[in-house]
Structure formats: C-alpha cells, structure tokens
Subunit: 206 residues, 2 copies
C-alpha cells in the first residue's frame, strides 16, 4: 500500500496521523477510539483501515513516530548547539515552556506505558528517541569541554543520562500532579551541577 499514494492520499494519511495525535493527547490512549479519530479528521472507517491495514495498533505506532519526531524538533535550534551556557539557558526555557504549555497531555508517555510493552515497534521508537536525545545532550557537554568551559575528564555519558532522566522525571511529575516545579528544579539543578562540575570524573560510591 505505501509508496503508491496520490497527493490526495498522502494528504489524507497525514491528516489522519495528526488528528489522531491530537485526539490521543486530549483523551489519552485508553479512552481514544477510532470513532474519535474519524470525527476529528472527517474520515470514515474504511479510510482508517485503508491507510493503516493493521488497524489501531499500526495507527498508534505512526502517531508515536510522529510525536517522537516533534519532541526533539520542538527543542531546536537550541538543543542542536548547546555550546555556551547561554545556549543551555535558552534550551532550558524552551523545554519548560513546551511542557508547561502541553500541560496534562502526554503524547508519548502514555503511549509508551500503555502500548509500549506489548508492541515491539513502539519500544523501538522510544529507545531511538531516548538515544538521540541523550546524544544531543552529550554533544552539548562536549561542546562546553571543547570551549574550555568544562574540564575534559568528565563522564559525559553519565552526565547526559542523568540529565535526561531528570527531565523525564520532571515531565512525569508534571503530568501526574500538574505542577512544573519538579521539572524546573531538575533542569536548574542539573545545569547548575554541570556548571559546578569541576572535580573528578564522576566516580561514585560502591
């Protein structure tokens, strides 16, 4: 089926994906139905199954891919050039702004936890996003090292992993409680600690 799409067909397909993404954000994975998607995208059941023959699961994966791509895109151009403390600060602002605006709706988090464990394709998307995100952070840290703003003997990967975890957790808490204090704390503290990291290569207890 794919690759054989007309301009009209492609338009409809992406209308479905974007509409489904919106529905999922609003209603959550558990409550969103194909009828919701149909209503939102002005399509019929046959179209849904025409473009996603494997049904709901296939659509969900497509939406997850769509959302995953947006996550990092939304952090650009800052995430792409974290080569000064000012850039880190601006990136921080963008992240907070994005997730505060998004509020309760979690495009991916719910998808992961709900469908992720069962579907193999979904997990791959999450893992790839995690890797790319962490790699971007690591590149930023290395850029700071290259600029002499951080010592060279830093455990970059652990730093990046910890920072990513902190952001993820902040977002989770924002989603669960509606408060962005933890996300702000995680980012501020994380960047501050990075800045302060002058000493050893991150050796830790036992």
């Amino acid at each position: 089926m794919p690759g054989e799409l007309t301009a009209k067909g492609r338009a409809t397909r992406s209308r479905i994906v974007e509409g489904a993404a919106a529905v999922l954000r609003e209603k959550g994975v558990g409550s969103a139905t194909l009828d919701d998607v149909m209503a939102r995208t002005r399509t019929s059941k046959s179209q849904l199954f025409h473009y996603f023959p494997a049904g709901k699961d296939e659509l969900l994966v497509a939406v997850a891919q769509f959302e995953a791509d947006r996550v990092l895109e939304d952090q650009q151009p800052y995430l792409g050039c974290l080569d000064s403390w000012e850039a880190w600060g601006r990136w921080r602002d963008v992240v907070i702004e994005r997730y505060e605006a998004q509020g309760e709706q979690c495009p991916l988090g719910s998808l992961f936890l709900q469908v992720g464990r069962s579907t193999p394709g979904m997990r791959a998307i999450v893992i790839e996003l995690t890797c790319r995100w962490q790699e971007s952070l690591a590149r930023g840290i290395r850029a700071l090292q290259a600029g002499g703003r951080l010592p060279a003997d830093l455990d970059v990967d652990t730093r990046a992993a910890a920072l990513l975890a902190a952001i993820q957790g902040g977002v989770s808490i924002l989603l669960s409680t509606g408060q962005s204090t933890h996300l702000r704390a995680a980012l501020d503290q994380g960047i501050a600690d990075l800045r302060r990291a002058g000493s050893g290569s991150g050796s830790v207890m036992a």
Copy 2:
C-alpha cells in the same frame, strides 16, 4: 458499606486488592479486566461490586493506594534515616534493586497516566506520594546538614525535588526501554552532586 465488614469480608476485600494489583502489574491497566481479577482472586462479579460499588474505577483507586503505600515502605528502613553518606548509598542500592526486580511492570506509573487525569482520587494519591517521598529526601539532606556534612545554605527543597525527578525519570526510562542505566546514572550523579554541593544556595540563570 465500609466499616461493617466481618473478618471474612475484610479478608476477601484485601485478597481482591492484592490480586488486582498483581493482575495490573502483569497485564497493564489497559488490558486488565475484571474477569482477570475474578480468576486471580477466586471471586465472583458480585463480590467485586459488593466491595467496590462504584466498579472498576473504585477498585483501581484502591489498588493505587495499596501500591503507593508499598513504594515508600519498600525503601525502608533506609529512606527513613538518610543521615550519613553510607545510608544514602544503601538507600541507592535498595531503590535500584527494587526497580530492576520490578522490571517492566509499573504498578503506579501506568495507573497515573491512564486513570490519573480523569479520576480525582487517583491524582490525590500520586500527589501525596510525591510529597511524602520528596519530604523524606529533604529530611535526609537536612540530616546531613545537621551532621555538618553539608553546608547549611543549601536549597534543600530544590535539591530534593530535582533528585526525586531524576529517580522518577530513571524509572520511566527503565519501564520504557528496559534498561536501568539511566536510573543508576540519575542516582549516582544525584548523590555525587549533592556531596559536591559546597557552594552557593543554588541560584541559577535567568
């Protein structure tokens, strides 16, 4: 209905809650059905609705409360007396061990994201757990200050919030990807940074 339970009734009720918790861990909120719970707990529909008149939602809230209580319990006695670096290290080990053993199954995370936003009671449970957890961490940090192991001019609450976010994120990533590297990084880095935190009260950019 509550408070009027005989010994037998109480036994059945808690059997239902514990069994439902197990089912939810194994199958996820989205896939778990009342029939699953019935099979697991050797009960009938009428009993489920006898003890949880409001149906599935009420049962889910009860399970969430049950699981939330366990989260902090499982970290005891270490979480309760984080007054030395050794205690922090042992606590770290317990947390990692617990979540690695738990693996993919997330007792609460899925509950939050799935039901949390809709049900008011669920959110309250999450918020309370978050507060208690963060407060425990904060108490630990203050204990270190009291023992002279940390400077007094530390922004304890921000520290605790950031650390909690890091753990949450590490767990999220563990659930999504199956890897505990981020959780380990978050804990190790978080404790290391705390240890290194000698300077100012955490003032951060912009």
